[in-house]
């Protein structure tokens, strides 16, 4: 009953905001934005029965859906739009006879499909991870160590290790590679030196979204186009959605090189009602860290960008009501009216809506931790230690050998070499000519 999977929030210290209860219950993202008003659909992935609105009773243990995680028959399924209730097709007594420790299927059913489709959110957690090849994930490959999610994300009293910085802020309860591997695991000292400042993931996850594409950009502002009064969808040649009337347009990407940031394990979040500056991209979660911070290391992240709805007068993000459960409830996916969706959604979060909306650019930072490659595919030295287009080209504030140099030293040094060379050539030529002349005149 104290688990985060159950409560969808936990008490965290948020930099600059103090101690707050944050989690999926109240944090906004730049995918489907937020659950408020949309519980009927979103909460299919809650480990409860019937979390359909804010009145859900979190104190009643009979509301806990044990089977979502503990079904080992791989037949358990929650109903679409059912607020967490099982699908009517499920044979519950069969499932009840096959319970056990969570398998990849249990976790993946929710965590691979967050944001409304396969690999939408993470980029490193998706369908192929149900049974990945070694090239995709050395840890979880059945032909490799065949690890289950819970082998790393171990739990005591259902409090699992590991968390996502889309909804958490503090440096605690993390899964670290060092729980199994040592802090200096390489035979090469030079590589071991790196572990002071570089997280394992940075070199060992050269790309993410290795098998299926992940969403990189979501433009809500184009949503609402209709054909003959009906919503429609457009797919690209690979069969990926690029436009949906209900959600707007998307850009997807596959085999992506991560972005890199300094990260010390603490984060801050945009919380409902915070004011924003529409002239620049709003970071919904800020991951802290810098070279000078002894707790920070370089980590790979996926940056998800979006354009999402905000109140142009009050200057805060709008929690729209997207899901529609009955006619006239304002759900955007049925009515395609942003004003109504904003009005109804903001009621759910108890904030006024001015009646004026616009779209603001937002960014979210998702650390990439899975899809660890076999060591033969690890990022090579020269991919960062290079003057041009290195993987770390955007990280500043520190000296990276091979990338950085002091322009003055470079100028004077090269100048010195050129002068020395020129001097020897000139001196040598004059010597040679004078010598010949002398010999000739003798």
């Amino acid at each position: 009953m104290h688990s985060t999977h159950w409560n969808w929030e936990r008490t965290e210290y948020v930099e600059g905001k103090g101690i707050r209860a944050i989690g999926k219950r109240n944090v906004l993202n730049n995918f489907c934005i937020g659950i408020s008003g949309n519980q009927q659909s979103c909460n299919r992935c809650h480990i409860g029965y019937g979390y359909a609105d804010a009145s859900f009773n979190f104190n009643d243990s009979l509301n806990v859906d044990c089977l979502a995680c503990h079904d080992n028959s791989a037949t358990y399924l929650k109903a679409i739009g059912g607020a967490g209730l099982p699908d009517s097709s499920v044979n519950l007594s069969f499932v009840a006879q096959h319970v056990g420790k969570p398998q990849r299927t249990n976790c993946g059913t929710c965590h691979f499909f967050g944001g409304g489709g396969n690999n939408v959110k993470h980029g490193d957690l998706e369908m192929s991870m149900f049974d990945p090849s070694r090239d995709v994930d050395v840890h979880m490959a059945s032909e490799g160590s065949d690890m289950q999610c819970v082998d790393c994300h171990s739990a005591q009293k259902h409090q699992m290790l590991g968390k996502m910085y889309s909804v958490s802020s503090m440096n605690r309860g993390r899964v670290e590679c060092e729980h199994c591997h040592s802090a200096m695991p390489h035979t090469d000292d030079v590589l071991n030196d790196h572990t002071l400042k570089v997280a394992c993931q940075t070199c060992h996850i050269p790309t993410y979204a290795k098998v299926n594409p992940t969403k990189l950009f979501w433009d809500w502002s184009t949503a609402g186009r209709l054909r003959n009064g009906e919503p429609f969808e457009e797919k690209d040649s690979a069969g990926t959605d690029v436009y949906m009337s209900i959600k707007g347009s998307f850009v997807w990407g596959k085999n992506i090189k991560p972005d890199y940031i300094w990260f010390n394990g603490t984060a801050s979040h945009y919380l409902v009602g915070d004011t924003l500056d529409p002239s620049r991209p709003l970071q919904l979660n800020v991951l802290y860290g810098s070279y000078d911070d002894p707790d920070a290391k370089i980590y790979p992240v996926k940056i998800h960008r979006a354009k999402q709805i905000y109140d142009t007068q009050y200057r805060y993000l709008i929690q729209p009501k997207t899901v529609s459960t009955k006619p006239g409830d304002g759900g955007y996916w049925a009515e395609f009216n942003w004003d109504r969706a904003a009005e109804e959604g903001m009621k759910q979060v108890n904030l006024p809506y001015s009646g004026h909306y616009g779209f603001v650019q937002t960014e979210m930072y998702w650390p990439v931790n899975h899809m660890v490659s076999p060591k033969s595919q690890a990022v090579q030295c020269g991919e960062c230690h290079t003057r041009e287009n290195g993987r770390l080209a955007n990280l500043s504030g520190f000296y990276l050998p091979g990338r950085n140099y002091n322009p003055w030293v470079e100028f004077l040094g090269v100048g010195l070499l050129v002068l020395t060379l020129a001097a020897t050539v000139v001196h040598g030529s004059v010597r040679f000519l004078m010598n010949r002349k002398r010999k000739g005149s003798n």
Binding site: L196, C381, G382, F398, P401, G402, T420, G428, R431, R438
Partner: protein, 219 residues
């Protein structure tokens, strides 16, 4: 002219090993620096580190040799003839004027050489070794939280190391060329290979120099 044993076996070994190591350290170092592509960054680092350790070992032996033989005195910089030597390279050399400094076994360096070599030995090489070692081991104080030894940034270390590297490479170029300005174009080279060199028997400039007691071969 008489042929004298100028460069002892260790000295010659030291010279050529040092030359090879500095060239190799220069190539691998400037690959690490991003100026050239040759071995690939990871191999360059590996080779640079191995060569650096070898270089340090060689330096230890060289210091021992210089101290025990007293040869270190050869490098004491002097004002005497410094100007004459510089003028020789700018004017005299073109007119086939005699070398202003007489080379003898006990004083085989001219004043400019003394100055430059002493500078390398007491300044450039120590800077390279110290900055190189700090570059190599900068992690350890920080990781073990010896904060007083903590190196916040590699930048200063790397910049010093790079300055030294540029100086060494330009020294190398000048050294190669000046090596051809001996009695004949190749006489210095031959001397450093065989140890023997034809030296003038006496000179007006260097009456004060003691006469060699080394075994002497005459032509």
């Amino acid at each position: 002219m008489k042929k004298e044993y100028v460069y002892k076996a260790f000295e010659r070994f030291w010279h050529w090993a040092q030359a090879a190591l500095i060239i190799f350290l220069g190539v691998t170092g400037f690959e690490i620096h991003g100026s050239i592509r040759f071995f690939g960054f990871d191999q360059a680092v590996r080779y640079h580190n191995v060569a650096a350790i070898s270089f340090i070992i060689l330096i230890v032996f060289a210091i021992f040799w210089h101290l025990t033989t007293g040869e270190w005195r050869q490098y004491m910089p002097t004002w005497k003839n410094l100007r004459a030597q510089a003028e020789y390279y700018v004017f005299g050399i073109f007119r086939n004027a005699p070398h202003p400094t007489r080379k003898t076994v006990l004083s085989k360096l001219n004043p400019l050489q003394k100055l430059v070599y002493a500078g390398l030995k007491v300044l450039v090489i120590p800077v390279m070794v110290v900055s190189g070692l700090l570059y190599m081991f900068y992690r350890y104080p920080q990781h073990n939280e010896i904060l007083s030894l903590n190196i916040g940034s590699l930048e200063v270390i790397a910049v010093l190391h790079t300055i030294g590297a540029f100086l060494l490479v330009s020294f190398f170029i000048a050294h190669l060329y000046l090596g051809t300005t001996g009695r004949t174009v190749t006489s210095n080279l031959k001397a450093m290979i065989t140890g023997y060199e034809e030296l003038e028997e006496d000179s007006v400039d260097n009456k004060a120099q003691p006469v060699s007691h080394e075994p002497v071969l005459t032509k």
